[in-house]
């Protein structure tokens, strides 16, 4: 054992005795001498005392012992009180209440309830609850230093209060985002777009501290001098837009200027006052590293811009297409489950309608008819979809004057788990889909859905609700899934509730929509892209599978499903009709990363304790230049074009296996 280890063990032993009140005179002198002698010893001492205090308060909380100062609980002398109920000072009301609650002497909340609450939400939680309940919101003399002006899919770190648009941010408040984008507008006019995961403090009306994560600051004329502090360097604005990113591990800051100019300012902690100032102009970027040497100035190095890419604005809804995907990516002949309807009608071959099992299909097509809905199917040759030859046409009708309740019908086909494409692994489902007829399709309960499912129509009627993994639908009138009536992409939100993403693409009679869906069962997510009438592909960000379903058990949803819901109409009114055509159904394994591409496959997690690890980045090495293939999953790709030195950052819950670079 070397001397320093022995010393720190001795120090810890003495500290433990001290905190337990067992230190004798000699030991006390020894401890003080050690703490006086070195900064390292004092650091250990401080950490030990903090632990002591934390343990004390944690244990007391579970005992529900009063922790608020008695002097504050409305006693005379310290605080004047005008006595009127209305104008009664807030502090007296609140602290009276708290005092009562913590002494367990109130009828309002029993002691056991308080105890339960304390155990459940902890003291800060209950104090906040009580504040919300009992503090009247009176305009105080304090004005916020900044305001939250926009939010986008924000997830706040545990233990922090989620702030929404319009909320004020006060001095000393720390904003800790796990994910999402947050726009903070400072009182002096600067705007900061904080990108989670990040920890940020608003320190002043024109200053903030970025502990980790990244942000983009836009500073208008007149608000120059706005400063972003980081552990390594202060970035002082001289009328600009700039991005700052702080590496959590080392405190390294990366700064990129988009417009105007900033000054990088760093001061040595110790020694004679030494300050480093360096200007950085638009189009330039720098990395500032803290050195290990005590008191030394950080090192500023100029780097190629766009190595770090920043989110400069909150994305519009629907999300911007990221990287267009060529349909040819999926056209890998070696392994594919195909339904081209090339064999016409019949039940002798796989590629007929209804067809037979084989080549990855576990059965032929199934036509489900239910209740008052009638489903007419045919194989057509005239007017093919995007030149694709024979295709399947489906016409669903519902006579008017029915019961009014929605019923379902569908064409579906069961897939085999193996036999060509392993559906438990990432794969791509693509097909062309044309809307032929929409008659009286105008109610919120009129719906056409395309999805994968875990039960057949028959099983559904026998056993109840089906569950889908990926799910695309259109509705007659905006409903909760598709507010605008556009194609909606159904996914699960953070709490596991199914919600719809508006694709921004309207369904129209006569249009052919090409769908290409990257299904990633291990990552439990799917990534759609859509093209209209053979046009440009519009890619969407990966989204969570719609339902847990049996995927957890099976790892896949074995049915490809097309189904309708119809409201019908009053007696004597027109027949409601939905007509559509399908062709070129193809299920292929997801392209694997190619030679010279980003290596490594894996999956990030959403687990809080590993949220730091859920951020991963890859640096593209020599020979990796190329264009993004399935790079749509790459949220931070600077462009389609990736060159050596570009860093990819992966949004959490993203599957690495869906990233490929074509060389």
């Amino acid at each position: 054992m070397d001397k320093s280890t022995g010393d720190s063990e001795r120090l810890l032993r003495l500290l433990s005795l001290q905190t337990d009140g067992l230190l004798d005179n000699e030991q006390s002198k020894e401890l003080i001498a050690m703490v006086s002698a070195s900064k390292e010893a004092r650091q250990i001492y401080i950490a030990h005392m903090f632990l002591h205090s934390l343990m004390h308060r944690a244990a007391r909380l579970t005992d529900a012992v009063p922790v608020l100062p008695e002097e504050l609980s409305g006693s005379a002398g310290t605080l004047p009180d005008d006595g009127s109920q209305l104008g009664r000072p807030t502090r007296t009301l609140m602290l009276d209440f708290l005092g009562n609650v913590f002494r367990g002497g109130t009828d309002f909340l029993s002691r056991s309830l308080v105890l339960t609450l304390l155990l459940a939400v902890g003291l800060p939680g209950i104090l906040f609850l009580l504040l919300v309940l009992h503090v009247t919101r009176q305009p105080g003399p304090v004005t916020p230093l900044a305001k939250i002006t926009r939010t986008h899919e924000c997830v706040w770190s545990e233990g922090t209060t989620a702030l929404s648009t319009g909320a004020g941010v006060f001095a000393g408040e720390q904003l800790r985002l796990t994910e999402g984008l947050l726009e903070i507008t400072f009182a002096r006019g600067a705007k900061v777009l904080l990108e989670g995961p990040a920890t940020f403090n608003v320190t002043d009306a024109a200053q903030g501290f970025l502990h980790n994560g990244s942000l983009v600051a836009k500073v208008q004329k007149g608000a120059e001098g706005f400063t972003i502090q980081t552990p390594a360097v202060a970035v002082v604005d001289l009328g600009t837009e700039f991005g700052v990113r702080v590496d959590d591990e080392r405190g390294t800051a990366e700064v990129e200027v988009f417009q105007g100019k900033v000054e990088l300012r760093a001061t040595a902690e110790e020694g004679p006052s030494r300050t480093l100032r360096q200007h950085l102009v638009a189009g330039r970027a720098a990395r500032v590293e803290v050195t290990d040497r005590q008191g030394a100035l950080p090192i500023i190095r100029e780097i190629t811009p766009a190595v770090v890419s920043f989110v400069r604005q909150i994305p519009q809804v629907p999300k911007r297409p990221l990287v267009p995907i060529k349909p040819s990516d999926a056209d890998k002949p070696e392994a594919a489950i195909v339904a081209d309807f090339s064999g016409g009608e019949g039940n002798a071959q796989v590629d007929q309608f209804p067809g037979v099992a084989g080549s990855g299909w576990a059965a032929g097509w199934n036509v489900g008819e239910a209740g008052e809905l009638k489903c007419i199917t045919s194989i057509e040759q005239a007017n093919p979809l995007l030149g694709g030859g024979k295709y399947l046409r489906v016409l669903v009708e519902r006579q008017s004057g029915g019961s009014g309740a929605c019923t379902c019908t569908a064409v579906d086909r069961r897939l085999a788990l193996t036999n060509g494409v392993d559906l438990t692994k990432p794969h791509v489902v693509s097909f062309n889909f044309r809307i032929d007829v929409l008659n009286r399709f105008g109610e919120a309960s009129d719906r056409l859905s395309i999805c994968n499912r875990n039960v057949s129509q028959m099983e559904y009627e026998r056993e109840g609700r089906p569950s889908s993994g990926w799910h695309i639908c259109m509705v007659g009138k905006g409903n909760k899934y598709a507010k605008s009536g556009n194609w909606a992409l159904l996914r699960r939100d953070k709490k596991g509730k199914p919600i719809g993403v508006d694709s921004g693409i309207p369904p129209r009679e006569g249009n052919t929509y090409s769908f290409r869906i990257l299904v990633d069962p291990p990552a439990r997510q799917w990534t759609p892209s859509i093209a209209v009438n053979g046009g440009k592909w519009i890619a969407f960000e990966p989204m969570g599978m719609r339902s847990k379903g049996t995927a957890k058990k099976n790892g896949y949803w074995p049915f490809l499903y097309f189904y309708c819901e119809m409201e019908g109409g009053n007696k004597g009114e027109d027949v409601e009709k939905i007509g559509f055509s399908v062709d070129s159904i193809r299920i292929t394994p997801a392209p694997a990363p190619q030679a010279g591409s980003i290596s490594g496959t894996g999956r990030t997690t959403r687990n809080r304790s590993s949220f730091m690890e859920s951020w991963s980045s890859f640096l593209v090495g020599p020979g990796d230049a190329g264009t993004g293939g399935l790079g749509k999953a790459c949220r931070h790709c600077p462009s389609d074009r990736t060159e050596q030195g570009h860093r990819f950052r992966f949004w959490h819950f993203m599957s690495f296996s869906s990233i490929a670079l074509a060389s």
């Binding site: 810890l12 004092r42 903090f50 007391r60 609140m94």
Partner: protein, 184 residues
Amino acid sequence: MSNLNDSGRDQTLPEPFVRVLLANQGNIHAYVTSLVGNLEQAEEILQETNVVLCREADQFSTITDFTAWACRIAYFQVLRYRKQCQRDRHWFDDRLLNLVAQEAAPHTKELGERRRALDECLEKLSDLQRNLIMRRYSANGSVQSVARECGRSPGAISQSLYRIRAALLKCIEHRIALFERGCQ
């Protein structure tokens, strides 16, 4: 900004202030504990500090770093407390007190992380160890009383507590290094 009435103006504690004050109770307590080395004294000084902070609440709007401000006021309360109890033997002399005060203040900001880390680190202890340290910190949980309850000698309990604290500290420091290295 206007209030309901003139007399209420100075008396109203703004909600943001109360929010920040409550959120900082642990920070101030930890800071004071590092200065006086005694939990009960720290509680007393924390209360005194709260009184002063409430009295000075109107300065809140000009304060950019509440924790630092609160620690500064707590430091003065520690000095005042030492003056009042001059007869008692002080833990630190003035020079060392000042030194620790300066070095401890920046660490108060990471206390939230420390608390979270502590939660996780407590989980890693064996049931026996966790039980022991929780008992020590429960009300009336001195080493002697824990020793009586467990039927072990105070010396043995003290040795166990030392081991548990050392393990917790190591674990917390490891986590802080992971999460908060960027913090000043």
